[in-house]
Symmetry: C2
Subunit: 126 residues, 2 copies
């Protein structure tokens, strides 16, 4: 497989606190986001922290999606990395932003693969 | 927990092809890298692709480590993200670079958490 990839790093604020603390709901959102982008799911691993917060990953044939939620801050830290020409990571990121009901967010896209690591700044507020 | 985090993105080239295609060895290297940095492991999920390549994640109490290996290119794509003040992601990244026997590599550090996503370029060749 080609090593070139697109890695979107997104910071989501003012999300739904209830969703951010619900491991089943977050897991489903990330599985659905991967499928929405046309990715093939290989492994799913999520962990609920005490007293709050969820971390998880969906490993796809084309790389991965990860989340770390901080319900006490309404914040979720998201990564969607794809190394296929046919999968757009932004499709999954946009799905996640809506599903977590984020009112403000910010994202950058990092080019992965051969050669210097390139970062394309991108900022958008709802 | 504080939302601030440090996320190191590393591209490793000219790695050991045998290690890059050995799921058991890669899994052990990533578990050991997390422990070396002083992280607490919560979930471990790795997947071996056919005919070659391994993807995997170690979810730690302080965020995650991920890897995607492309043995046919001698390349591994690495992320180490920590949201604790006491854990330095570079300790894990340096452990991984040595363990995968990478002859060339490059890395950037991304500040995660509240406020604009900030990227600190950092490039080093062995």
């Amino acid at each position: 497989m080609d090593t070139m990839g697109r890695h979107v790093i997104a910071e989501l604020w003012e999300c739904s606190i209830d969703i951010l603390n619900n491991i089943s709901q977050i897991k489903q959102i990330f599985v659905d986001a991967a499928l929405e982008a046309g990715a093939e799911i290989r492994e799913v691993a999520f962990h609920k922290f005490s007293p709050h917060g969820v971390s998880g990953v969906v490993i796809i044939a084309e790389s991965h999606l990860t989340v770390h939620s901080f319900p006490e801050h309404g914040y979720a830290s998201i990564d969607v990395y794809t190394c296929s020409n046919t999968i757009d990571p932004n499709v999954a990121v946009e799905y996640i932003i809506k599903a977590l009901e984020a009112k403000t967010f910010e994202q950058v896209e990092v080019k992965r693969g051969k050669g210097p690591v390139k970062v394309k700044p991108f900022q958008k507020m709802l």
